[in-house]
C-alpha cells in the first residue's frame, strides 16, 4: 500500500511536465488531462485513506523510501515519504479541493488562450504541495515549500500582460523569500543541533535539547510560516496576490498553500512544545494577524481583497491555535480543513459573480444579484454562514473550539487571547455580512465596464457551479461531522497529541458568547449596509477605514522602513565602495606604479652602478648573517 504514496505526487507532476513541455498540440485537451491527473491523485488518496481507516491508530503511519538524494557521509538526505493521519488530512484536502478547482477552471478559463499552461501550473502546484505534506524530512519539505512558492508566483502573474499582476507576483515572491530564509536557517540549525533533518529523529531528540536552541529553531520556523501563510509581519503579499485568476485565489491563496505554515508548526509540534517562548510568539502573531486581516476585510470594496483579508484572519486563528500547543493543534487543523471548504467555496462564488459581471470586482457596483445567480447565491450564502460560525455549520464547530482553547491557555494570556479571538469572530460576522449584503441584496448598482458593455449577470456554467455545490456541502456538514463526538480529535490525536485545556469559562459560556458576538456583528453590518442605499463611490470614511483600505498602511510601513532604509544602506555602501574600497585599490595601483617608476631609475645601465649594488648587497648579506648569530 505504501508504494502508492509516490503516485500521489507523481500523477500531477507528470501532468505538469506534459502540459508545460508539450506543445500546442495539447491545447485542445490539455485541461482535461490536467483535471484527470488531479482526480487520479485524489482517487489514490481516497484508496489510501480507506486503507488507513481499516487499521488501528498505531499502525496507520506509512512510509516509502524512494532513493537517497544526497548520500554524503554525515549528511543523509533521502527522498522518502511519510503518510500519517496529519499528512492524510492534507492530502485529501489538497487533492480533493484541487480537483474541484481544476473542474471549475475548465469553465472559468474557457476563453483564455493560455489555458493549457494554466493547468500545467495548477498541476505543478498540486505536486509541490503534496510533496510538502508527504515529505518525511525537512529538506524534502523545503523542496515542496519552494515548489509551491514557484507555482504561486507563476499563477499570480499568470496574466503577466497586466503590470499589476506582474508586480503582485514579484511582491509575493520577494516577501516569501524572507520566510524561506527562515526555513532554510531553521533546517541548518536542525542539522547542527540534531545532525539530521528527518522528522522522526529530530522530533524525538527535542527532549534532550536545550530550550534556547529549540526557541531559535521555533522562531525561524515561525518566520517561514509567516511568509507562506501571510501572517504579520509578512502579510503584505496576500492582498495583491488576488491579481491571479480566481481559481488560483481559491486553491492556493485560500484553501491550501497559505495553510502550509500551519502544517509546518503543527508538524514541528515537538519543537514548539519544548520552547514556550516561541509558542508565545506564535500565539501573538496569530492574534495580531486575525485582527489585522479582519479589520482590512471590513474596509475593502474589492470582493476578492475582502476575502483575502478574511483568509489572513482565519489563518490567524489557526496559527493562534497552533501556538497554544497540544490543546490547540487538532483544532488548528480542523479549522484549516473546514476553512478550506468554505473559503474555497466563497472564492469560487466570487469568481462566479465576477464571471457574470464582466470581471467587475468592486462590490459597490454589484447589488441584488441573488435573483440572477441563484446557485451562486445559495452556495456563497452557505459559505458565508459557515465562516461567521453560524451554529450547526462547519465554521461554528472549528472556530468555537479555538476560542475555547484560547481561553484555556490560562492566566492573563488566556483571557487576552480568548477575547481577541472573540472580537475577531464579531468582526468576521460584520465584514462577511457586508460582503453578502453588498453583493446579493439591495438595489442594482451595476455600471457598464470600460468598453461600455452593461453587465448581464447570469448563472455560471455547470463546470463552475458543480464544484461550488460540492464545496457548499463541505461548508455545511464538515464541521459537524468532525466536531460531534470528537471524531477529528480521535483521528489526529495519535500524531499531534492532545491535552484538554481547563477553560476558566464553561464550554456553554464560550459558545454563547461566540453566538452573541456573531449576532452583534451581523446586526451592525445590517444597520450600516442593509437598510439604506449604498453609495457607488466609497465615502471618505474614518481614519481607521482609510488606513484599513490601505491595508493598515502595511505597504507604507514597508516602504518607509525597508525600502527607504535599504536604499540608504545600499547608497552608503556604494559610497564606501567608491571612495574607500576603490580608493584603496586605485591608491595601491598608483603607489605601485610610482614605486616602479622610481625603482627602475636604479637600473641606469652602468655596470659600475650594478657592481656597487652587488657590493652593497653582499655587505648587507654578510652583516645580516653575522647579526643573526649575534642576536
Amino acid at each position: 500500500m505504501e508504494n502508492l504514496i509516490a503516485l500521489l505526487v507523481a500523477a500531477p507532476l507528470l501532468g505538469a511536465a506534459v502540459l508545460l513541455c508539450g506543445g500546442r498540440a495539447l491545447d485542445r485537451a490539455g485541461h482535461w488531462l490536467g483535471t484527470l491527473l488531479a482526480a487520479a491523485s485524489f482517487v489514490v488518496a481516497v484508496v489510501l485513506f480507506a486503507d488507513m481507516l481499516g487499521k488501528g491508530a498505531e499502525e496507520r503511519t506509512l512510509s516509502q523510501h524512494l532513493f537517497s538524494w544526497l548520500p554524503v557521509e554525515g549528511f543523509q538526505a533521502d527522498v522518502a515519504f511519510q503518510l500519517d493521519q496529519l499528512s492524510m488530512t492534507f492530502v485529501l484536502l489538497i487533492s480533493g479541493v484541487g480537483t474541484l478547482i481544476h473542474v471549475y477552471s475548465i469553465g472559468y478559463m474557457e476563453h483564455d488562450e493560455r489555458r493549457r499552461r494554466f493547468f500545467g501550473y495548477l498541476n505543478l502546484f498540486l505536486a509541490a504541495m503534496l510533496l510538502l505534506v508527504l515529505a518525511d524530512n525537512y529538506l524534502l519539505l523545503y523542496v515542496g515549500w519552494e515548489g509551491v512558492g514557484l507555482a504561486s508566483y507563476l499563477l499570480i502573474g499568470f496574466w503577466q500582460h497586466k503590470p499589476s499582476a506582474a508586480t503582485a507576483a514579484k511582491k509575493a515572491f520577494l516577501v516569501n523569500r524572507v520566510g524561506d530564509m527562515g526555513l532554510s536557517i531553521a533546517i541548518m540549525l536542525m542539522f547542527t543541533t540534531f545532525g539530521t533533518f528527518a522528522f522522526g529523529p529530530v522530533l524525538e531528540a527535542t527532549g534532550e535539547t536545550s530550550e534556547g536552541k529549540l526557541t531559535a529553531i521555533g522562531l525561524m520556523l515561525l518566520l517561514a510560516a509567516c511568509g507562506k501563510s501571510a501572517q504579520v509581519p509578512l502579510q503584505s503579499w496576500l492582498g495583491d496576490a488576488m491579481e491571479g485568476p480566481t481559481p488560483v485565489s481559491a486553491l492556493i491563496h485560500a484553501a491550501t498553500m497559505v495553510t502550509a505554515g500551519v502544517y509546518l508548526i503543527v508538524r514541528s509540534g515537538a519543537i514548539f512544545n519544548g520552547a514556550p517562548e516561541a509558542q508565545l510568539v506564535v500565539t501573538i502573531v496569530g492574534a495580531v494577524t486575525l485582527l489585522f486581516g479582519a479589520i482590512v476585510g471590513c474596509a475593502k470594496d474589492d470582493i476578492k481583497k475582502a476575502l483575502a483579508g478574511s483568509t489572513m484572519s482565519q489563518i490567524g486563528y489557526m496559527i493562534l491555535a497552533a501556538g497554544l500547543g497540544p490543546i490547540g493543534y487538532v483544532f488548528a487543523i480542523m479549522h484549516l480543513v473546514t476553512h478550506g471548504f468554505f473559503k474555497a467555496g466563497l472564492f469560487l462564488g466570487a469568481g462566479s459573480v465576477m464571471h457574470g459581471m464582466n470581471d467587475e470586482v468592486d462590490m459597490r457596483k454589484y447589488g441584488g444579484l441573488r435573483k440572477y445567480m441563484p446557485v451562486t447565491f445559495v452556495t456563497f450564502g452557505l459559505g458565508y454562514l459557515a465562516i461567521i460560525g453560524f451554529p450547526g455549520l462547519s465554521g461554528f464547530f472549528s472556530k468555537d473550539k479555538i476560542i475555547e482553547a484560547a481561553f484555556a491557555k490560562g492566566g492573563t494570556e488566556g483571557w487576552i487571547l480568548g477575547s481577541v479571538a472573540l472580537l475577531g469572530a464579531a468582526i468576521t460576522a460584520y465584514y462577511m455580512t457586508r460582503v453578502m449584503l453588498l453583493t446579493f441584496f439591495g438595489e442594482k448598482r451595476w455600471q457598464p465596464d470600460a468598453e461600455g458593455h452593461a453587465p448581464h449577470p447570469h448563472e455560471s456554467p455547470k463546470t463552475m457551479t458543480i464544484p461550488m455545490i460540492v464545496l457548499a456541502f463541505g461548508s455545511v456538514f464538515a464541521g459537524g461531522f468532525f466536531g460531534i463526538g470528537d471524531r477529528f480529535l480521535h483521528w489526529l490525536e495519535p500524531v499531534t497529541g492532545h491535552k484538554h485545556g481547563h477553560s476558566p469559562l464553561s464550554a456553554a459560556t464560550v459558545t454563547g458568547a461566540t453566538v452573541g458576538v456573531l449576532l452583534i456583528g451581523v446586526a451592525l453590518a445590517y444597520l450600516q449596509y442593509g437598510r439604506g442605499p449604498v453609495p457607488v463611490t466609497a465615502p471618505r470614511g474614518s481614519l481607521l477605514t482609510r488606513a484599513a483600505r490601505r491595508d493598515l498602511l502595511q505597504d507604507d510601513f514597508n516602504h518607509v522602513v525597508l525600502v527607504r532604509g535599504g536604499e540608504h544602506l545600499t547608497r552608503s555602501l556604494v559610497y564606501v565602495d567608491h571612495t574607500l574600497v576603490d580608493g584603496v585599490v586605485n591608491g595601491t595601483a598608483a603607489t605601485m606604479g610610482g614605486l616602479s617608476g622610481r625603482l627602475r631609475k636604479l637600473q641606469n645601465g652602468y655596470a659600475r652602478s650594478y657592481a656597487v649594488s652587488m657590493f652593497g648587497g653582499a655587505a648587507v648579506l654578510i652583516a645580516a648573517t653575522l647579526l643573526m648569530r649575534a642576536v
Binding site: A607, Y610, M614, G616, G617, A618, I622, A624, T625, M628
Partner: protein
C-alpha cells in the same frame, strides 16, 4: 688563483696521501655530463675540419644527438635507482648522483634540447645575400658595422660555434647542481658561465647592445665569482676541507680532530658565516635575486633572444640546484642563521621583480623582471627546508623553464624591419592579426601569472604550500601579494594583444620552421600537462627530493 694553488688545496683537502693513485671514476654514472662535454669537444673539431657549408647541419645533428643521448643516460640512471635507493657520491667525492641531481640534469638537458632548436632557427630573418641566416652574427670577431662584417655576411658565414658553446654551457650546468665540493662547484660555475658570456655577444641584429650586454654580464659575473671564490677560501679555512660532507660535519660539531695547519682558523664561526654569505651571494647572482639581479634586464634584452630563453631557463635550473644542495647538504645545521637572511632576500626579490616590471615597455625586459620575481617565488620553496620544499622547487623549475623558452621563442617571431619588435607598443592588437601566436603567448603569460590549469599555478601552489608548512607563512602572504602585482603586468600584455587596435605599421609575425614550432609546441604542451594533470610529475619530483650526503 693559480692552477698549482688549486691543486694544493685539492690535495690537502683529502687525507694525507703517500702516493698518488689513479682516481676512481664511475664513468657510467657521470655519462650524461661526459657525453655532452665530449660532443662539445667534437663540435670544436667540427668547426676546425668540416667545410663551412656542412657545419650547421653537422653541429645541429651532433648537438641534438648528444643531448638526447645524455637525457637517455639520465633516464637510465634514474631507472636503475640512482635517484633513490642507490644514490651515491661519485668521482672521488666530487659529484653527487642522487634524485635532485638527476631530476635537474634531465630538466636542463630537455630545456637545452628545446633551446638548441631555437638556436638553429633559420627562417625568421630574411635571406642575407641569398643565404639563410639565424639569430647569430656572421662573424663574431668583426667590428659591428665594419666592412669585415659586411663581407662575412655577404659570404654567407654563420656562427655555428654557438652549438659547441651551448654544449659546453650545458655540460657545466649538469655538473653545477651535482657538485659535491666547493671547487667542483666553482669550476662548473665557470664552465657554464664563460660560454654564456660569449653567446650573449653574438646577436646578428643590434650588435652593439648585444656586446654591451655580454661585457656587463662578464664583468658582473667575474665580480660575483670573486666573491664566491673568496667565500670558498673562508669555508676551507673554517672546515679544513672543501667537501660538502666534511663541512657539514664540522658545522654540526661532529669532528673532533683538528688539522694542525689550520688550528687557528678551524671552527671559527665568523669564517663560516662570512664564507657562507659570500658563496650564497654568488649563487644568488646566478639566479638573479635582488639585489644581485641588476645584470638580468640588460643582459636578457641585449642577448640574442634564443640565448636569452636558454639562459633564463637552464641557468636558473642549474643555479637553484646548486643553491639547494649547498643549503640542504652543507648547511642544514646552520639553517637558523641563513633562513632569516634568505627570507629577506626572497621578499625583496618577489616584490622588487614584480613592482619594477609594471613600468617596463620592452617585452624582453618585462620577461627579465618576471624571471626575477619567479626567482623570489622559488626561493620561498628553498626556504621551506623540508623534503617537500625540495620537490616543490624541482617541479617549479621544470615547469618554469619550458614556459620561459616557449615565451622567448614567441618573441623571436614578432618582427619588423629592424628585427624583433620587442617594444610593447608594437604588440598592440597582435591578437587580431595573428590570433594563434597571441593565444600561445597568452597561455605562457597566464602560466607566468600562475593561473589555474597552467603549470605556473601548480608550481606556485606547490612552492607556497611547502613554504607555509615549513613555517614561512608570512613569506607566502608576500608571495601571493607579489603574484597579484605580477598578474597585473602579465594580464596587461594580454589586454594589449587582444583588446587594442592594431597599429598600421605594426610588426609582422614570421612563420618559423618546424624547429621553433617544436620549441613553442613543447612549451605549450608542458604548460598544459603540468597544469591539468600534474600528479605524475609531482610524484616524480617528490621521489627525487632527497639529497645524498
Amino acid at each position: 688563483m693559480s692552477a698549482s694553488a688549486v691543486h694544493s688545496l685539492w690535495t690537502t683537502a683529502a687525507d694525507p696521501i703517500d702516493k698518488i693513485g689513479a682516481p676512481k671514476i664511475e664513468y657510467g654514472q657521470l655519462s650524461p655530463t661526459l657525453i655532452v662535454i665530449g660532443a662539445a669537444v667534437v663540435g670544436v673539431l667540427v668547426e676546425a675540419f668540416v667545410p663551412r657549408k656542412f657545419r650547421y647541419y653537422v653541429q645541429l645533428f651532433l648537438s641534438v644527438v648528444a643531448l638526447a643521448a645524455a637525457f637517455a643516460a639520465v633516464v637510465g640512471l634514474a631507472a636503475r635507482g640512482f635517484g633513490t635507493t642507490k644514490a651515491q657520491i661519485a668521482a672521488m667525492g666530487a659529484i653527487a648522483v642522487d634524485g635532485p641531481a638527476l631530476f635537474l640534469q634531465g630538466t636542463i638537458l630537455l630545456a637545452g634540447l628545446v633551446a638548441i632548436f631555437t638556436f638553429a632557427e633559420r627562417r625568421l630573418d630574411p635571406l642575407a645575400h641569398g643565404n639563410r641566416v639565424d639569430s647569430f652574427v656572421a662573424q663574431a670577431g668583426a667590428v659591428p658595422g665594419s666592412e669585415g662584417e659586411q663581407a662575412a655576411t655577404k659570404a654567407g658565414f654563420t656562427t655555428t660555434e654557438v652549438f659547441p658553446l651551448a654544449l659546453f654551457a650545458i655540460g657545466g650546468m649538469l655538473v653545477f647542481p651535482a657538485a659535491n665540493d666547493l671547487l667542483t662547484l666553482f669550476i662548473a660555475l665557470e664552465v657554464f658561465s664563460l660560454p654564456l658570456y660569449l653567446l650573449c655577444a653574438l646577436a646578428r641584429r643590434k650588435r652593439l647592445m648585444s656586446q654591451e650586454a655580454a661585457v656587463k654580464y662578464f664583468l658582473l659575473g667575474a665580480f660575483a665569482s670573486a666573491f664566491t671564490l673568496f667565500g670558498i677560501a673562508l669555508l676551507y679555512g673554517y672546515a679544513g676541507s672543501v667537501s660538502y660532507a666534511t663541512i657539514a660535519d664540522v658545522v654540526e660539531g661532529n669532528v673532533s680532530t683538528v688539522d694542525p695547519a689550520l688550528a687557528e682558523t678551524m671552527g671559527n664561526d665568523a669564517l663560516l658565516l662570512i664564507g657562507v654569505a659570500m658563496v650564497v651571494m654568488g649563487l644568488l647572482f646566478k639566479v638573479g635575486a635582488v639585489p644581485f639581479h641588476m645584470w638580468t634586464p640588460d643582459v636578457y634584452q641585449g642577448a640574442p633572444t634564443p640565448v636569452t630563453g636558454f639562459m633564463a631557463a637552464a641557468t636558473k635550473v642549474a643555479a637553484f640546484g646548486a643553491l639547494l644542495r649547498l643549503l640542504y647538504v652543507v648547511l642544514p645545521g646552520l639553517r637558523w642563521d641563513w633562513r632569516p637572511v634568505m627570507w629577506g632576500i626572497a621578499i625583496i626579490t618577489m616584490l622588487g621583480g614584480a613592482i619594477v616590471a609594471i613600468t617596463q615597455t620592452d617585452i624582453k625586459r618585462l620577461l627579465a623582471y618576471s624571471s626575477i620575481a619567479h626567482a623570489g617565488f622559488i626561493l620561498a620553496g628553498v626556504i621551506a627546508t623540508t623534503p617537500d620544499g625540495v620537490s616543490s622547487v624541482l617541479f617549479y623549475l621544470a615547469a618554469y623553464s619550458f614556459v620561459t623558452i616557449g615565451a622567448f621563442a614567441v618573441v623571436t617571431l614578432v618582427r619588423d624591419a629592424g628585427g624583433e619588435a620587442t617594444h610593447l607598443s608594437k604588440w598592440a592588437g597582435l591578437g587580431r592579426r595573428s590570433p594563434l601566436v597571441a593565444a600561445v603567448f597568452a597561455v605562457f603569460l597566464l602560466a607566468f601569472a600562475g593561473i589555474p590549469l597552467t603549470s605556473g599555478f601548480t608550481g606556485k601552489f606547490a612552492v607556497f604550500k611547502a613554504a607555509a608548512e615549513g613555517g614561512a607563512g608570512a613569506l607566502v602572504v608576500v608571495g601571493v601579494l607579489s603574484s597579484a602585482i605580477a598578474a597585473f603586468f602579465y594580464i596587461r600584455v594580454i589586454v594589449l594583444m587582444f583588446f587594442s587596435e592594431p597599429k598600421a605599421d605594426g610588426p609582422t609575425v614570421a612563420v618559423p620552421s618546424p624547429l621553433t614550432m617544436t620549441a613553442i609546441g613543447v612549451g605549450v604542451a608542458v604548460t598544459l600537462v603540468l597544469g591539468v594533470a600534474p600528479q605524475y610529475f609531482l610524484d616524480l619530483a617528490g621521489q627525487a627530493g632527497v639529497f645524498v650526503r
